[in-house]
Amino acid sequence: MALFITTLKHCGLYAGFELRRLWLTRRGLMTLAATAVLWFFLLRYAIAPASDLIGSEGFQQMFRDAFGAFGLSQLFAWPAPELAIYWILSLMLLPLLCLFFTANQLCSDLERGTLRLLALRSSRLSIVLGRFSGQMLVQSCLILLSLVATLSLAAWREGGLSLAMLNAAAVIAVNLLLVLLPFTALMSCFSAMVRSSRLAVSLAIVSLGLVFVLLSSFVFYFPDFLFLLGYMPGTQVMQLLPMQGWQTLQYALLPLLQTLVLLSSATFLLTRKAL
């Protein structure tokens, strides 16, 4: 029990330290600036014009005719078109960005030997979970900031904020974090394996691609195993796209289980690793 409490306490300390890294260090502020610039361009040149387009009746009719069968016409049911575009863009973009943002959970510390100083004071499980929690907190901050910007844009166009908008924003935030959980845990694994964040990103992209190709080939010859493709990280994204509201949480179990497996693997890898 005491060990469990210590692990939790250490996780909290590591997570807090990662938040300080975001808000109080030059590198963290650069990350914030890069996110702000990215979302400025997305809001200015994608979300704002697309919202006007989505709002027009003619476009909605054309879209229903073209994509109605895929359920994408549900996008018009969002309380603000800005949120619908944000939902699509972030579901498609954030998992990929997450691979880059969270690649350095352990690599630099392994390379510098800082992990040796940490391992004298906390278990490797605490280090993995703490860094993972820290990265999730950092991503929560970035998602919240971009959502606030999107809500502001919607409020400015609609002339005010509604409760439905705030509820939809909460749905988006929770779902995005659920989608990012397995990707962040995946980067925990790769950052525990190699001493360079670039190498970790490359390995992650190559591994995901390779597993997808191998599984697809396998399924081609053994179609009964099609369900295996559904266990890849992020596969629920396509199912989430046409959905809205809290019913989206019906897809929460898979990413949670994936995260559990990947974090266990990361802990196993780091425990076996010579520091």
Binding site: R20, R116, A119
Partner: protein, 302 residues
Amino acid sequence: MNAIIQCQQLAKRFGSKTVLQQLSFELHQGDVAALIGPNGAGKTTLFSILCGYLPPDSGSARIFGHKAGSSALFGKVAALPQDAQFDPAFSIGEQLDFYGRLQGLSSKAAREESKRVLALVELTEQLQHKAGALSHGMRKRAAIAQAFIGTPQLVLLDEPTAGLDPVNALHIRQLISRLSGEVSFMISSHNIFELEQLCNKVLYLENGQLKQHSSSDNAAQLQYLTLHLEQDNNDAISAALRQLPGLIDLHSAQRRELVLSYNPQHNADFDLAVLQCLAANGWRYRNLTKGQTLEQKLFNPA
């Protein structure tokens, strides 16, 4: 006596290279042990196993009765690992605070502790500076400071004074010497002079094997005097000293250095006799030391 480190048949290989072979030794409370050996002898590997950074292939390493690296040792065992660096994004103070918090200190206590340990290595003014802004020697001292956070009972120091200027190396030696009563140390170094001053036990590693495992022992039948002359040693000096009662052997370790072994039971005032002999012949000496130097014991045994 309580063993704080117990290593039994410890072995480690990296690929086809055997780094440690069937290493067994014990260290006790209050020991200051020197770990000596040529490059590649396995010193850092042994340190890494003791710190829990590396698992041994076979054998066991137990510290305070717990497996090396066990969570029960957090805060009890501290170390200066070779080449471990601080995170360049944060100040030294912030990182020491964080280490203190991980060791269970409150925020305020951790800050006080950071100041205390930085004062130990005379780096108080660098509290707010990032590691990148410090010189190599300062970074090394800051790394030594982290090993003294809290109340460690065993401190493992891998090359603690390598890269330090003589004054700071002296400060670190004084610090270890001052704390050695309450804390046990294991120090790896190539500086024999330093180890001789600090350590009461020597582990000499060569090709992964423990070649010597000795403690200071002044009760031996055979004792040594090391004599540094102001002039080169010559046959006349050696001949005169050989006449002294109690002398067992005499050999010249260096041009102006003589090592005399004698039996104190035959001549309790042998050192006095040596000085009288030198004075009677007008030979001047620089110093006379009881015992052999560690260098002589390890590499040039009489």
